[in-house]
Protein backbone atom coordinates (compact mmCIF):
# COMPACT_ATOMS: atom_id res chain seq x y z
CA UNK A 1 0.00 0.00 0.00
CA UNK A 2 1.33 3.41 -0.86
CA UNK A 3 1.34 5.93 1.92
CA UNK A 4 -1.48 8.40 1.75
CA UNK A 5 -0.09 11.55 0.14
CA UNK A 6 -1.65 13.92 2.62
CA UNK A 7 1.68 15.28 3.70
CA UNK A 8 1.42 17.95 1.01
CA UNK A 9 -0.06 20.97 2.63
CA UNK A 10 -1.01 22.67 -0.62
CA UNK A 11 -0.88 26.41 -1.07
CA UNK A 12 -3.10 27.24 1.84
CA UNK A 13 -0.96 29.33 4.14
CA UNK A 14 -3.28 28.59 7.06
CA UNK A 15 -3.01 24.84 6.60
CA UNK A 16 0.77 24.99 6.32
CA UNK A 17 0.99 27.01 9.52
CA UNK A 18 -1.32 24.63 11.36
CA UNK A 19 0.71 21.57 10.38
CA UNK A 20 3.93 23.31 11.36
CA UNK A 21 2.38 24.37 14.65
CA UNK A 22 1.21 20.85 15.45
CA UNK A 23 4.78 19.56 15.07
CA UNK A 24 6.07 22.38 17.25
CA UNK A 25 3.50 21.30 19.86
CA UNK A 26 4.59 17.65 19.52
CA UNK A 27 8.22 18.54 20.24
CA UNK A 28 7.08 20.81 23.07
CA UNK A 29 5.14 17.84 24.50
CA UNK A 30 8.28 15.70 24.50
CA UNK A 31 10.24 18.48 26.23
CA UNK A 32 7.44 18.91 28.78
CA UNK A 33 7.58 15.16 29.44
CA UNK A 34 11.33 15.34 30.04
CA UNK A 35 10.82 18.26 32.44
CA UNK A 36 8.07 16.42 34.33
CA UNK A 37 10.31 13.37 34.55
CA UNK A 38 13.15 15.36 36.06
CA UNK A 39 10.76 17.00 38.55
CA UNK A 40 9.21 13.69 39.60
CA UNK A 41 12.70 12.24 39.93
CA UNK A 42 13.68 14.82 42.52
CA UNK A 43 10.31 15.30 44.21
CA UNK A 44 8.27 12.08 43.80
CA UNK A 45 5.35 13.07 46.08
CA UNK A 46 4.74 16.31 44.15
CA UNK A 47 2.17 14.79 41.79
CA UNK A 48 0.52 12.57 44.41
CA UNK A 49 -2.62 14.70 44.29
CA UNK A 50 -3.06 14.20 40.55
CA UNK A 51 -2.39 10.47 40.78
CA UNK A 52 -4.78 10.06 43.68
CA UNK A 53 -7.48 11.95 41.78
CA UNK A 54 -7.12 9.47 38.92
CA UNK A 55 -7.09 6.58 41.40
CA UNK A 56 -10.30 7.89 43.00
CA UNK A 57 -11.96 7.35 39.63
CA UNK A 58 -10.56 3.88 38.92
CA UNK A 59 -10.69 2.42 42.42
CA UNK A 60 -14.52 2.21 42.73
CA UNK A 61 -14.63 0.41 39.37
CA UNK A 62 -11.93 -2.01 40.49
CA UNK A 63 -13.65 -2.51 43.83
CA UNK A 64 -16.94 -3.46 42.19
CA UNK A 65 -15.24 -5.76 39.70
CA UNK A 66 -13.16 -7.38 42.45
CA UNK A 67 -16.31 -8.03 44.50
CA UNK A 68 -17.94 -9.65 41.47
CA UNK A 69 -14.81 -11.75 40.92
CA UNK A 70 -14.83 -12.90 44.52
CA UNK A 71 -18.50 -13.81 44.18
CA UNK A 72 -17.85 -15.94 41.11
CA UNK A 73 -14.77 -17.47 42.70
CA UNK A 74 -16.77 -18.54 45.76
CA UNK A 75 -19.12 -20.75 43.72
CA UNK A 76 -16.69 -23.63 42.98
CA UNK A 77 -15.33 -23.25 46.49
CA UNK A 78 -18.80 -23.69 47.99
CA UNK A 79 -19.42 -26.78 45.85
CA UNK A 80 -16.17 -28.45 46.82
CA UNK A 81 -16.75 -27.61 50.48
CA UNK A 82 -20.13 -29.26 50.29
CA UNK A 83 -18.69 -32.52 48.99
CA UNK A 84 -15.54 -32.72 51.09
CA UNK A 85 -16.91 -31.53 54.40
CA UNK A 86 -17.01 -34.97 56.09
CA UNK A 87 -13.50 -35.84 55.06
CA UNK A 88 -12.24 -32.45 56.18
CA UNK A 89 -14.03 -32.85 59.51
CA UNK A 90 -12.19 -36.09 60.22
CA UNK A 91 -8.88 -34.50 59.29
CA UNK A 92 -9.52 -31.52 61.53
CA UNK A 93 -10.38 -33.79 64.50
CA UNK A 94 -7.07 -35.53 64.01
CA UNK A 95 -5.26 -32.21 63.86
CA UNK A 96 -6.92 -30.93 67.02
CA UNK A 97 -5.87 -34.06 68.89
CA UNK A 98 -2.32 -33.70 67.66
CA UNK A 99 -2.14 -30.01 68.53
CA UNK A 100 -3.57 -30.33 72.02
CA UNK A 101 -0.25 -31.13 73.65
CA UNK A 102 1.45 -28.35 71.71
CA UNK A 103 -1.16 -25.86 72.87
CA UNK A 104 -0.68 -26.85 76.50
CA UNK A 105 3.05 -26.41 76.18
CA UNK A 106 2.61 -23.06 74.38
CA UNK A 107 0.30 -21.86 77.15
CA UNK A 108 2.88 -22.66 79.75
CA UNK A 109 5.54 -20.86 77.75
CA UNK A 110 3.31 -17.84 77.16
CA UNK A 111 2.59 -17.63 80.88
CA UNK A 112 6.27 -17.83 81.72
CA UNK A 113 7.04 -15.24 79.06
CA UNK A 114 4.48 -12.84 80.51
CA UNK A 115 5.89 -13.34 84.00
CA UNK A 116 9.46 -12.73 82.87
CA UNK A 117 8.44 -9.64 80.93
CA UNK A 118 6.77 -8.20 84.00
CA UNK A 119 9.94 -8.91 85.92
CA UNK A 120 11.92 -6.99 83.30
CA UNK A 121 9.30 -4.22 83.23
CA UNK A 122 9.43 -4.32 79.46
CA UNK A 123 6.93 -2.06 77.78
CA UNK A 124 5.44 -3.39 74.59
CA UNK A 125 3.94 -1.12 72.01
CA UNK A 126 0.75 -2.50 70.62
CA UNK A 127 0.37 -2.10 66.87
CA UNK A 128 -3.06 -0.53 66.47
CA UNK A 129 -4.96 -1.43 63.34
CA UNK A 130 -6.26 1.67 61.62
CA UNK A 131 -8.53 0.02 59.09
CA UNK A 132 -9.06 -3.29 57.32
CA UNK A 133 -9.53 -2.82 53.59
CA UNK A 134 -8.90 -4.59 50.33
CA UNK A 135 -6.27 -4.15 47.67
CA UNK A 136 -8.26 -3.62 44.48
CA UNK A 137 -5.79 -3.21 41.65
CA UNK A 138 -2.12 -2.87 40.88
CA UNK A 139 0.31 -1.37 38.39
CA UNK A 140 0.40 -4.50 36.28
CA UNK A 141 2.08 -2.94 33.25
CA UNK A 142 4.82 -0.95 34.98
CA UNK A 143 8.04 -2.24 36.53
CA UNK A 144 7.14 -0.56 39.80
CA UNK A 145 5.00 -2.62 42.14
CA UNK A 146 2.22 -0.49 43.60
CA UNK A 147 -1.26 -1.57 44.62
CA UNK A 148 -4.36 0.51 45.28
CA UNK A 149 -6.12 0.13 48.62
CA UNK A 150 -9.76 1.10 48.83
CA UNK A 151 -9.42 3.14 52.02
CA UNK A 152 -7.92 6.61 52.34
CA UNK A 153 -7.64 9.72 54.48
CA UNK A 154 -11.28 9.58 55.54
CA UNK A 155 -10.59 6.18 57.09
CA UNK A 156 -7.47 7.49 58.83
CA UNK A 157 -4.87 6.08 56.43
CA UNK A 158 -1.74 8.23 56.24
CA UNK A 159 1.46 7.90 54.18
CA UNK A 160 4.07 5.77 55.95
CA UNK A 161 1.67 3.35 57.61
CA UNK A 162 2.61 -0.34 57.33
CA UNK A 163 0.17 -2.68 55.58
CA UNK A 164 -0.01 -6.35 56.50
CA UNK A 165 -2.10 -9.32 55.55
CA UNK A 166 -3.22 -12.11 57.86
CA UNK A 167 -0.06 -14.06 57.04
CA UNK A 168 2.59 -11.38 56.93
CA UNK A 169 3.79 -8.01 55.73
CA UNK A 170 2.48 -6.62 52.41
CA UNK A 171 4.12 -3.19 52.22
CA UNK A 172 3.51 0.38 53.27
CA UNK A 173 1.31 3.30 52.26
CA UNK A 174 3.05 5.93 50.13
CA UNK A 175 0.25 8.21 48.91
CA UNK A 176 -3.28 8.79 50.14
CA UNK A 177 -6.40 10.21 48.54
CA UNK A 178 -9.79 10.81 50.15
CA UNK A 179 -10.89 7.17 49.81
CA UNK A 180 -7.93 5.44 48.16
CA UNK A 181 -4.31 4.88 49.05
CA UNK A 182 -1.32 3.68 47.09
CA UNK A 183 0.66 0.87 48.70
CA UNK A 184 4.32 0.18 47.92
CA UNK A 185 4.52 -3.62 47.85
CA UNK A 186 7.43 -5.54 49.37
CA UNK A 187 8.51 -6.74 45.95
CA UNK A 188 9.01 -3.23 44.55
CA UNK A 189 12.68 -2.63 43.73
CA UNK A 190 12.64 0.53 45.86
CA UNK A 191 11.26 -1.18 48.97
CA UNK A 192 13.75 -2.07 51.71
CA UNK A 193 12.66 -3.72 54.96
CA UNK A 194 15.03 -4.50 57.83
CA UNK A 195 14.48 -8.13 58.88
CA UNK A 196 16.01 -10.81 61.08
CA UNK A 197 15.91 -14.57 60.99
CA UNK A 198 13.23 -15.87 63.33
CA UNK A 199 15.44 -18.81 64.41
CA UNK A 200 18.57 -17.00 65.58
CA UNK A 201 18.12 -13.29 64.91
CA UNK A 202 20.56 -13.05 61.96
CA UNK A 203 20.04 -9.49 60.68
CA UNK A 204 19.33 -8.89 57.00
CA UNK A 205 17.45 -6.55 54.70
CA UNK A 206 14.65 -7.59 52.33
CA UNK A 207 14.94 -5.71 49.02
CA UNK A 208 12.28 -6.14 46.33
CA UNK A 209 13.23 -7.83 43.08
CA UNK A 210 10.29 -6.59 41.01
CA UNK A 211 9.07 -10.09 40.18
CA UNK A 212 6.99 -10.86 43.26
CA UNK A 213 9.95 -11.98 45.32
CA UNK A 214 12.44 -10.25 47.60
CA UNK A 215 16.22 -10.47 47.91
CA UNK A 216 17.44 -11.21 51.42
CA UNK A 217 20.87 -9.63 51.95
CA UNK A 218 22.89 -10.25 55.05
CA UNK A 219 24.02 -7.05 56.75
CA UNK A 220 26.56 -8.51 59.17
CA UNK A 221 29.74 -10.42 58.40
CA UNK A 222 30.27 -11.97 55.02
CA UNK A 223 29.49 -15.62 54.42
CA UNK A 224 26.16 -15.75 56.21
CA UNK A 225 24.45 -18.99 55.21
CA UNK A 226 20.75 -19.09 54.34
CA UNK A 227 18.97 -22.45 54.39
CA UNK A 228 15.81 -23.33 52.49
CA UNK A 229 12.75 -22.52 54.58
CA UNK A 230 14.42 -19.94 56.85
CA UNK A 231 11.73 -17.57 58.07
CA UNK A 232 12.48 -13.85 58.30
CA UNK A 233 10.49 -11.38 60.40
CA UNK A 234 10.63 -7.61 60.78
CA UNK A 235 12.93 -6.12 63.40
CA UNK A 236 11.12 -2.87 64.14
CA UNK A 237 14.28 -0.93 63.26
CA UNK A 238 13.47 2.35 61.58
CA UNK A 239 10.14 2.66 63.30
CA UNK A 240 7.78 2.00 60.40
CA UNK A 241 7.14 -1.72 60.59
CA UNK A 242 6.25 -3.29 63.94
CA UNK A 243 8.66 -6.07 65.00
CA UNK A 244 8.02 -9.78 64.52
CA UNK A 245 5.73 -9.55 61.50
CA UNK A 246 6.59 -12.45 59.16
CA UNK A 247 8.08 -11.17 55.90
CA UNK A 248 9.53 -13.90 53.70
CA UNK A 249 10.72 -17.48 53.52
CA UNK A 250 13.96 -18.49 51.80
CA UNK A 251 13.47 -20.46 48.57
CA UNK A 252 16.98 -21.60 47.68
CA UNK A 253 19.98 -22.09 49.93
CA UNK A 254 22.84 -19.68 49.46
CA UNK A 255 25.19 -17.21 51.08
CA UNK A 256 24.96 -13.44 51.61
CA UNK A 257 22.10 -12.80 49.17
CA UNK A 258 19.24 -15.15 48.33
CA UNK A 259 15.78 -14.96 46.80
CA UNK A 260 12.84 -15.38 49.16
CA UNK A 261 9.09 -15.67 48.75
CA UNK A 262 6.96 -13.14 50.66
CA UNK A 263 4.63 -14.89 53.09
CA UNK A 264 1.64 -12.68 52.35
CA UNK A 265 0.98 -12.78 48.62
CA UNK A 266 -0.76 -9.51 47.81
CA UNK A 267 -4.04 -10.28 46.07
CA UNK A 268 -7.57 -9.02 45.88
CA UNK A 269 -9.08 -12.05 47.60
CA UNK A 270 -7.85 -11.23 51.07
CA UNK A 271 -8.08 -8.37 53.51
CA UNK A 272 -5.15 -6.04 54.18
CA UNK A 273 -4.71 -4.41 57.58
CA UNK A 274 -3.36 -0.87 57.75
CA UNK A 275 -1.56 -0.27 61.03
CA UNK A 276 -0.12 2.74 62.78
CA UNK A 277 3.60 3.31 62.27
CA UNK A 278 5.43 1.39 65.00
CA UNK A 279 7.19 4.48 66.33
CA UNK A 280 5.50 7.66 65.10
CA UNK A 281 7.73 10.13 63.30
CA UNK A 282 8.84 12.82 65.77
CA UNK A 283 7.58 16.32 64.96
CA UNK A 284 10.13 18.47 63.14
CA UNK A 285 12.40 20.15 65.61
CA UNK A 286 11.96 23.87 66.07
CA UNK A 287 14.43 25.76 63.89
CA UNK A 288 17.28 27.08 65.93
CA UNK A 289 17.16 30.85 65.81
CA UNK A 290 20.53 32.30 66.73
CA UNK A 291 20.08 34.92 69.43
CA UNK A 292 20.44 38.44 68.19
CA UNK A 293 23.03 40.45 70.00
CA UNK A 294 24.47 37.22 71.37
CA UNK A 295 24.79 35.90 74.85
CA UNK A 296 21.30 35.91 76.33
CA UNK A 297 19.39 32.66 75.98
CA UNK A 298 15.91 32.24 77.42
Amino acid sequence: MALSPDRRTGFSRRRQTLVFLSYVLAVAGALLGAALLVISRFDPPLFAGLRMAAASVTAPVSTTAAALGRGIWSIPEAISTHFFVRQENAQLREAVKRNQTLVLRARAIAYENRRLRTLLALRDREAHTVVAARLVSSTASSGRRFALLNAGRFQGVRPGMPVRGPLGLIGRVVETGPAVARVLLLSDPNSIVPVRRARDGLPAIAVGRGDGRVDLRSVTLANARFAVGDLFVTTGTGGIYPPNVPVARVQAAGADSVAAEPLAPADTLDVALVQEPFLPVPPPSRPEVPPIGGGITP
Binding site: M1, G33, A34, A35, L37, A65, S141, R144, S187
Partner: protein, 171 residues
Protein backbone atom coordinates in the same frame (compact mmCIF):
# COMPACT_ATOMS: atom_id res chain seq x y z
CA UNK B 1 -17.32 -10.47 7.95
CA UNK B 2 -20.52 -10.90 6.05
CA UNK B 3 -22.38 -8.60 3.73
CA UNK B 4 -21.17 -5.51 1.98
CA UNK B 5 -18.48 -3.67 3.87
CA UNK B 6 -18.08 -0.66 1.64
CA UNK B 7 -20.99 1.69 2.17
CA UNK B 8 -20.03 5.10 0.87
CA UNK B 9 -23.35 6.71 1.78
CA UNK B 10 -23.85 5.16 5.21
CA UNK B 11 -24.36 7.65 8.00
CA UNK B 12 -21.15 8.23 10.01
CA UNK B 13 -20.57 9.69 13.44
CA UNK B 14 -20.76 13.46 13.83
CA UNK B 15 -17.27 15.00 13.42
CA UNK B 16 -16.81 15.90 17.09
CA UNK B 17 -17.46 12.39 18.27
CA UNK B 18 -15.45 10.91 15.42
CA UNK B 19 -12.46 12.95 16.53
CA UNK B 20 -12.92 12.06 20.20
CA UNK B 21 -13.21 8.32 19.58
CA UNK B 22 -9.47 7.60 19.07
CA UNK B 23 -8.68 9.54 22.25
CA UNK B 24 -11.31 7.58 24.16
CA UNK B 25 -9.96 4.23 23.00
CA UNK B 26 -6.39 5.13 24.00
CA UNK B 27 -7.51 6.35 27.43
CA UNK B 28 -9.60 3.20 27.78
CA UNK B 29 -6.51 1.14 26.98
CA UNK B 30 -4.55 2.95 29.69
CA UNK B 31 -7.36 2.34 32.17
CA UNK B 32 -7.06 -1.43 31.80
CA UNK B 33 -4.63 -1.23 34.76
CA UNK B 34 -7.76 -0.87 36.91
CA UNK B 35 -8.27 -4.60 36.31
CA UNK B 36 -8.99 -5.98 39.79
CA UNK B 37 -5.96 -8.16 40.39
CA UNK B 38 -2.67 -7.55 42.16
CA UNK B 39 -0.02 -8.71 39.72
CA UNK B 40 3.25 -9.87 41.23
CA UNK B 41 5.07 -9.87 37.89
CA UNK B 42 4.50 -6.94 35.52
CA UNK B 43 3.40 -8.87 32.44
CA UNK B 44 0.34 -6.87 31.44
CA UNK B 45 0.95 -5.32 28.01
CA UNK B 46 0.64 -1.51 27.91
CA UNK B 47 -2.77 -1.35 26.23
CA UNK B 48 -2.78 2.44 26.05
CA UNK B 49 0.49 2.48 24.12
CA UNK B 50 -0.72 -0.34 21.86
CA UNK B 51 -3.87 1.57 20.96
CA UNK B 52 -1.88 4.76 20.38
CA UNK B 53 0.61 3.08 18.05
CA UNK B 54 -2.12 1.25 16.18
CA UNK B 55 -4.06 4.45 15.56
CA UNK B 56 -0.90 6.22 14.45
CA UNK B 57 0.10 3.44 12.05
CA UNK B 58 -3.31 2.48 10.67
CA UNK B 59 -5.09 5.81 10.58
CA UNK B 60 -2.34 8.45 10.65
CA UNK B 61 -4.69 11.43 10.78
CA UNK B 62 -6.91 10.17 13.57
CA UNK B 63 -4.61 11.63 16.21
CA UNK B 64 -2.76 14.93 15.84
CA UNK B 65 1.03 14.85 16.29
CA UNK B 66 0.72 16.61 19.65
CA UNK B 67 -1.90 14.17 21.01
CA UNK B 68 0.76 11.81 22.36
CA UNK B 69 1.71 14.13 25.24
CA UNK B 70 -1.73 14.59 26.88
CA UNK B 71 -2.57 10.92 26.33
CA UNK B 72 0.78 9.99 27.88
CA UNK B 73 -0.03 12.16 30.87
CA UNK B 74 -3.28 10.25 31.43
CA UNK B 75 -1.37 6.97 31.15
CA UNK B 76 1.24 8.12 33.67
CA UNK B 77 -1.48 8.96 36.18
CA UNK B 78 -2.82 5.40 36.21
CA UNK B 79 0.23 3.30 35.33
CA UNK B 80 2.47 3.85 38.36
CA UNK B 81 5.38 5.09 36.25
CA UNK B 82 7.06 8.33 37.33
CA UNK B 83 5.00 11.21 35.92
CA UNK B 84 6.39 12.37 32.58
CA UNK B 85 7.73 9.01 31.44
CA UNK B 86 4.91 8.25 29.00
CA UNK B 87 4.57 11.94 28.05
CA UNK B 88 8.16 11.90 26.83
CA UNK B 89 8.31 8.38 25.38
CA UNK B 90 4.96 8.50 23.57
CA UNK B 91 5.83 11.87 22.02
CA UNK B 92 9.16 10.46 20.87
CA UNK B 93 7.31 7.46 19.39
CA UNK B 94 5.14 9.80 17.30
CA UNK B 95 8.09 11.86 16.10
CA UNK B 96 10.10 8.70 15.37
CA UNK B 97 7.26 7.17 13.34
CA UNK B 98 7.02 10.42 11.37
CA UNK B 99 10.72 10.22 10.55
CA UNK B 100 10.39 6.58 9.48
CA UNK B 101 7.37 7.36 7.33
CA UNK B 102 9.26 10.01 5.40
CA UNK B 103 11.76 7.38 4.31
CA UNK B 104 9.28 4.64 3.36
CA UNK B 105 7.46 4.97 0.07
CA UNK B 106 5.36 1.83 0.28
CA UNK B 107 4.15 0.20 3.42
CA UNK B 108 2.07 -2.83 4.36
CA UNK B 109 1.02 -4.51 7.55
CA UNK B 110 4.34 -6.30 8.15
CA UNK B 111 6.20 -3.02 8.14
CA UNK B 112 3.61 -1.53 10.50
CA UNK B 113 4.14 -4.47 12.81
CA UNK B 114 7.92 -4.06 12.66
CA UNK B 115 7.69 -0.36 13.43
CA UNK B 116 5.30 -1.10 16.31
CA UNK B 117 7.70 -3.76 17.65
CA UNK B 118 10.53 -1.26 17.75
CA UNK B 119 8.37 1.40 19.36
CA UNK B 120 6.96 -0.98 21.99
CA UNK B 121 10.37 -2.35 22.93
CA UNK B 122 11.94 1.11 23.13
CA UNK B 123 9.06 2.54 25.16
CA UNK B 124 8.84 -0.33 27.65
CA UNK B 125 12.58 -0.49 28.22
CA UNK B 126 12.77 3.32 28.39
CA UNK B 127 9.96 3.32 30.96
CA UNK B 128 11.81 0.75 33.06
CA UNK B 129 15.00 2.80 32.77
CA UNK B 130 13.18 5.79 34.27
CA UNK B 131 11.42 3.81 37.00
CA UNK B 132 13.83 1.14 38.19
CA UNK B 133 17.41 0.81 39.39
CA UNK B 134 19.83 0.33 36.47
CA UNK B 135 20.50 -3.37 37.11
CA UNK B 136 16.84 -4.32 36.78
CA UNK B 137 15.99 -2.63 33.49
CA UNK B 138 16.25 -5.70 31.25
CA UNK B 139 15.06 -8.95 32.74
CA UNK B 140 12.90 -11.92 31.79
CA UNK B 141 9.68 -10.20 32.81
CA UNK B 142 10.44 -7.18 30.62
CA UNK B 143 11.21 -9.33 27.58
CA UNK B 144 8.09 -11.44 28.13
CA UNK B 145 5.99 -8.27 28.46
CA UNK B 146 7.41 -6.92 25.20
CA UNK B 147 6.73 -10.24 23.46
CA UNK B 148 3.12 -10.30 24.68
CA UNK B 149 2.54 -6.69 23.62
CA UNK B 150 4.05 -7.28 20.16
CA UNK B 151 1.97 -10.43 19.70
CA UNK B 152 -1.17 -8.42 20.52
CA UNK B 153 -0.57 -5.87 17.77
CA UNK B 154 -2.60 -7.69 15.05
CA UNK B 155 -5.53 -7.93 17.47
CA UNK B 156 -5.45 -4.22 18.28
CA UNK B 157 -5.07 -3.53 14.55
CA UNK B 158 -8.33 -5.39 13.91
CA UNK B 159 -10.01 -3.53 16.75
CA UNK B 160 -8.81 -0.13 15.58
CA UNK B 161 -9.76 -0.91 11.98
CA UNK B 162 -13.26 -1.84 13.13
CA UNK B 163 -13.64 1.33 15.23
CA UNK B 164 -12.23 3.41 12.39
CA UNK B 165 -14.76 1.97 9.95
CA UNK B 166 -17.64 2.69 12.32
CA UNK B 167 -16.26 6.18 12.76
CA UNK B 168 -16.45 7.00 9.10
CA UNK B 169 -14.13 9.15 7.05
CA UNK B 170 -12.29 11.72 9.13
CA UNK B 171 -12.61 15.30 7.99
Amino acid sequence: MSGIEYRPFARTLPPGRARALPWATVIGGSAVTAWPAVANIPLMPPFGLLMLLTWRLLAPFALRPWAAAPLGLVDDLVSGQPLGSAVLLWSLCFLGIDLVEQRLGMRDFWQDWTIATGAIAATLLGGRLFALPIGMVVDGAALAQIAIAVALFPATARLVAWVDRKRGQPR
